[in-house]
Amino acid sequence: MHTELEHSRCVARLLRELPDDAGRPYDWHEFQRRAQGAPAAAARVAGVRALAAAIVIALAVLATAIRLGAGPRPPHPPAATVAADTAAPAAAGDASPAERDAAAAQYWLERLPREPAVVRVGTRAAVETLEDHIAQVDDLLTTERAGSAPAARLRVLQRERAQLVNSLVQVRYAETLADATR
């Protein structure tokens, strides 16, 4: 009995030592105040869900791309590419998917304003780098065409141009997206 009594006193002491706000229920007004914060919490949860969904989609795209063979592959010198293309020249109207995408992309680019209202120097530098490279490839294509270069050589440059234009679209899309959330 004595031990039990000591135990009860000990528990009672521990209970008394608990901080006030841990055990005390809040009133209706306090509940209302906290409940009004719930929409913001729900919105945040929605934001988290959107982000999680985006991550899942991005990972799925990445996994599919790697599976389909767009993943890591060994680099090959341009000379080898030219030789291979010379052996099997592509038909004039046989544009690769990248080239077809680039044609559509260029159409989209032409309709964009020259620059966003507020230019972020970092992103703009990326845009200008790609634009300069495309202009250089166009210059080389003129030289090659004027020198009656074989079609295979032109195809190599056209493919490179398509790759650059597609990247430019991605970077300009990122720039537009960042500007839209300003």
Binding site: P39, L109, V121, T129, H133
Partner: protein, 353 residues
């Protein structure tokens, strides 16, 4: 060089974009509750703004990485087609058009206009026929080659007068030629193997300058800021780089007058890191000249060379961190049930038993 990093980088762009967009609805949906403490609300908004800014930075970093990797991938191809003896390493003047012979033999037909290139900015369109460059008529055999030959006499950044035929009508354009990208190699102590090809041009800009935000002055903005021309500094570099402040108007960079934010970026990119420059600015309605230096990248050495065998595979730099998930506010605690009458007695009896 694999194209996988590009896919990975673009995935990060998507994620950062989603994060940036997902932050906005949170702000819009968070209807300001009447009873909510305004200080709490301000703190929440500041936190969201911080997260949005972080997402923008990630988007910016990913975009930059896409550009760097694409430029790196295309470099060997471009190099293999470049005539180093004719063009040199630093690039010659280009106007950004693809030309071909016309069926009639008069002039060179514009087959493609480079997006964002000098010709596109001047207003030249696909299908136009270039009939004269700087007053010299383009005629006879191989007009495209003639235009290329005429362009060899033009220096980068100089104005080129181009006459074109559009739907049978003659139009004159002034095109500001640009230098074709040249190739530089930088040595980085933190990279092994040691030689890293580095793009020449806008990608040489780095550090806090990358976060700088610029806007082209409109007449209304110009009245407010005390200038009718120049580029407004919406956000100056955070660490005081370039000695600029928010609200400054850049009138000139070493005498060159920027006409837009893009133009200012291009002018700044024409300097090497560590190079000195003078900015003419308007600050608090007063014009002043500021002598400053383009921030230098940490310990590196430029080696200008045209030899393609120096290319090495560059290790992938660390990808930007994905933004941490926003904190979810704790749900309100459930109020404890009121004590049941007589429960104490029941418990005591049970203990005794």
């Amino acid at each position: 060089m694999s194209r996988c990093p590009l896919i990975l980088t673009w995935s990060l762009v998507l994620m950062a974009g989603a994060a940036a967009v997902s932050c906005r609805p949170t702000i819009a949906l968070a209807d300001p509750p009447a009873a909510k403490d305004s200080a709490d609300r301000a703190a929440d908004e500041a936190k969201l703004d911080e997260q949005l800014e972080a997402a923008r930075k990630q988007l910016d970093a990913a975009a930059r990485q896409v550009a760097e990797l694409t430029a790196q991938l295309s470099r060997p191809v471009i190099e293999s087609f470049t005539d180093w003896d004719m063009d040199g390493m630093h690039g010659r003047a280009i106007i950004g058009v693809q030309l071909e012979a016309t069926t009639g033999g008069q002039g060179a037909r514009v087959r493609e206009v480079s997006p964002g290139g000098p010709a596109a900015e001047a207003g030249i369109r696909t299908g136009d026929v270039i009939v004269a460059v700087n007053g010299t008529e383009v005629k006879g055999e191989n007009p495209a080659r003639q235009v290329m030959r005429l362009m060899r006499g033009v220096k980068p950044d100089s104005k080129v007068s181009v006459r074109v035929l559009h739907d049978g009508t003659s139009h004159d354009f002034t095109v500001v030629a640009r230098a074709a990208p040249g190739y530089f190699f930088a040595e980085f102590p933190n990279f092994s193997p040691g030689l890293m090809p580095e793009a020449h041009g806008p990608l040489l800009l780095h550090g806090s300058v990358m976060d700088m935000e610029l806007a082209t002055l409109t007449p209304q903005l110009g009245r407010y800021f005390g200038s009718d021309k120049g580029v407004l500094v919406v956000r100056a570099p955070a660490d005081g780089a370039l000695k600029l402040e928010d609200g400054d108007v850049i009138l000139a960079i070493d005498g060159r007058q920027p006409e837009s934010g893009s133009h200012a970026t291009r002018i700044l990119a024409s300097y090497q890191p560590g190079e000195k420059l003078t900015l003419r600015i308007v600050r608090m309605h007063k014009t002043l000249d500021v002598e400053t230096t383009l921030p230098a990248r940490a310990a590196h050495k430029h080696v200008a060379t045209g030899e393609s065998h120096l290319h090495r595979v560059v290790p992938m730099p660390p990808l930007p961190q994905v933004m941490p998930l926003p904190q979810v506010a704790p749900l309100p605690p459930v109020a404890p049930l009121p004590p049941v009458p007589g429960a104490d007695k029941t418990m005591a009896l049970r203990d005794q038993a």
